[in-house]
């Protein structure tokens, strides 16, 4: 049975985010010949639509209204509702982002259906949609089906592969209304992102944990990242380290922080709690440096050094510098 899919897309500097492209790809795999519509809201939305057709979208609903640039859920919900009317979806997909976290439950509520959050696997099981998501802090996985329609799901970044781009593909477009009222008023906005390479884009992430013992420990972690290359490695942290104020929360890796999938993840003085691993277990290779040989992190790591990071990192930094 064909399935109509509606993807709530997001823009970053006028282009669809990589997660939007992944969701459109997942949507086109699940559509089985149904339509794959995508909404794009904010400055540059209409122009950005072109990038979604090769990725698998068959329709794009856009509004170029800059009032959508900052996410206000009341405004976005109204826009997505109008797209919903045009697309008659059986399945609505959103990113597990600021937008999806709030919009998915609200949209589901308004259509007497349910939203499954933070899904990592979406499958068609003989015509029934089944979604799988980590639960119990990543200790377990749970597979759900929907008793109501449409199914609404938010999807973890990088969990879905985009499709092979269809060169020259095009699709229908339609315009969504401009932004209306919002009950919550945005008063201010503060960016506290690390300079340079962003965590999610970095091919290498070096993270520090509570075992560093003090904020000073992060200096060595930063040095290790710099030795690997400022253009290659970003620095992350466990929640314990962030909660202690040793590193900014924007750099937290894990269930309630960022999900990273680098080629190489180096965990320094991190025990490897399931909630932390939820944010890095998709890394190609994990290296653990921990003084406790029994630390959980060694179960997920490919390589490990058992020892005090204060003694291990300086020679490691030197050896990496020498190897480059």
């Amino acid at each position: 049975m064909p399935r109509n899919v509606l993807v709530v897309g997001e823009l970053s500097e006028g282009a669809p985010t990589s997660t939007t492209i992944e969701l459109v790809g997942a949507g086109s795999r699940l559509a089985g010949g149904g339509t794959v519509a995508v909404t794009l809201l904010g400055n540059g939305a209409a122009a950005a639509a072109a990038a979604t057709f090769p990725a698998g979208a068959t329709k794009a609903f856009t509004s170029d209204d800059a009032n959508y640039d900052q996410f206000r859920s009341d405004q976005w919900l109204a826009a997505v509702e109008s797209a919903f009317g045009l697309a008659s979806p059986d399945l609505v997909l959103m990113a597990q982002s600021l937008v999806g976290r709030e919009l998915a439950p609200r949209l589901a509520f308004r259509h007497n259906t349910a939203a499954a959050m933070d899904c990592v696997h979406l499958a068609d099981d003989g015509g029934t949609l089944k979604v799988t998501r980590p639960v119990y802090g990543g200790n377990a996985l749970a597979t759900f089906s929907f008793a109501t329609s449409p199914a609404v799901a938010t999807v973890r970044a990088k969990s879905q592969d985009p499709i092979e781009p269809k060169a020259g593909a095009s699709g229908e477009t339609a315009e969504l209304p401009a932004a209306g009222e919002a009950r919550a008023a945005i008063i201010g906005r503060e960016k506290v992102e690390a300079e340079g390479l962003q965590l999610q884009d970095a091919p290498v992430v070096v993270s520090g944990g509570r075992g560093l013992g003090s904020p000073d420990g992060f200096k060595l972690v930063e040095e290790l990242a710099a030795a690997i290359g400022k253009d290659k490695a970003a620095v992350g942290a466990s929640r314990a380290a962030c909660d202690l104020g040793w590193y900014p929360p924007s750099q937290q890796v894990g269930l309630t922080g960022k999900v990273v999938t680098p080629d190489l993840y180096i965990a320094v003085a991190i025990s490897g709690a399931s909630q932390h691993m939820a944010g890095c277990s998709g890394s190609k290779t994990i290296i653990a440096i921990n003084k406790d040989p029994e630390a959980n992190i060694f179960k997920s790591a490919r390589f490990g050094i058992v020892g005090d990071y204060r003694q291990v990192l300086p020679p490691l930094i030197a050896a990496i510098k020498a190897a480059r």
Partner: protein, 267 residues
């Protein structure tokens, strides 16, 4: 003012992975022996947020509500010991094995029964199923605005000024009263009750409401009303063990690791 805190009791999320077990027949977590259930972390922080507002504003009542087993009294007592005024337990077999939608239906019915409420404080997500939905769905039931993932909340000119955690920083929003606010760990640690407060809380009676008291249709909540059907709950296979560098000194281990990384074309 009247503030409500929604507090859930959950299996301890810090249970070591080796003690975390699932019954594959029942699709249920087997309680780890000797590890008591706890108040979901973020809900303790939500209580802290409500109590700080109460202290500043004065003349404010804080009611804590929990839907769950009889043992969830413990979670309620913990929030009472922190300084909440009244507790309500929503305990009914009809409420069991639901989903975020049915949970929010029960909690919203209880909030309506409480009468005048100025704000509801929830955790950003319950640290067992990690949905992050119930607060938002309560707001939808009440037709109130919601501000999620707060790290700061203050009462200002009859509105709540909420500092929210975003992916790349913070945002300050004003939400009118009444509204729902969900609180994240960036807010800070919840207070530790004093022994005397724990003893006072132990003596307080907790009101108990069932589906009949709330006027909710037993067929619309719990397993019967759930819109999300759990098909399978399982523990994912973990890959084996790390290859530990076995050279004598840390310096040699570091060199050994770099050699391995070069050989595997990782560096």
């Amino acid at each position: 003012m009247h503030l409500v805190v929604c507090a859930k009791q959950i299996p301890d999320p810090e249970t070591p992975p080796s003690a975390f077990k699932i019954d594959p027949q029942k699709n249920e977590v087997i309680p780890a022996p000797g590890i008591a259930p706890v108040l979901s972390q973020f809900d303790g922080i939500a209580a802290e947020a409500a109590l700080r507002i109460k202290e500043k504003a004065g003349d404010t009542k804080v009611t804590v509500i929990s839907m769950g087993a009889e043992s969830a009294q413990q979670a309620i007592k913990q929030v009472l010991a922190m300084g909440a005024d009244e507790g309500v337990l929503l305990n009914d077999p009809a409420f069991e094995k639901g989903d975020p939608h049915t949970t929010a239906t029960v909690l919203a019915a209880a909030i309506k029964k409480l009468g005048h409420v100025d704000a509801v404080f929830c955790g950003r997500q319950a640290a067992d199923w990690d949905w992050g939905e119930v607060g938002i769905l309560i707001a939808e039931h009440m037709n109130w605005p919601v501000a999620i993932i707060a790290k700061g909340v203050e009462l200002q000119d009859g509105k709540f000024r909420v500092q929210r955690v975003l992916e790349d920083g913070f945002q300050t929003v004003d939400v009118p009263m009444p509204s729902v606010i969900t609180v994240s760990n960036e807010f800070g640690e919840p207070r530790y009750p004093k022994l005397q407060q724990i003893m006072q809380a132990a003596r307080k009676t907790v009101t108990s409401w069932k589906s009949g008291d709330l006027g909710v249709d037993a067929g619309a909540v719990g397993a019967a009303g759930a819109r999300l059907k759990l098909e399978r709950l399982y523990i994912p296979e973990k890959e084996g063990k790390a290859e530990i560098m076995d050279a004598e000194t840390p310096a040699d281990q570091a060199k050994q690791l770099v050699e391995k990384l070069k050989a595997a074309k990782i560096l």
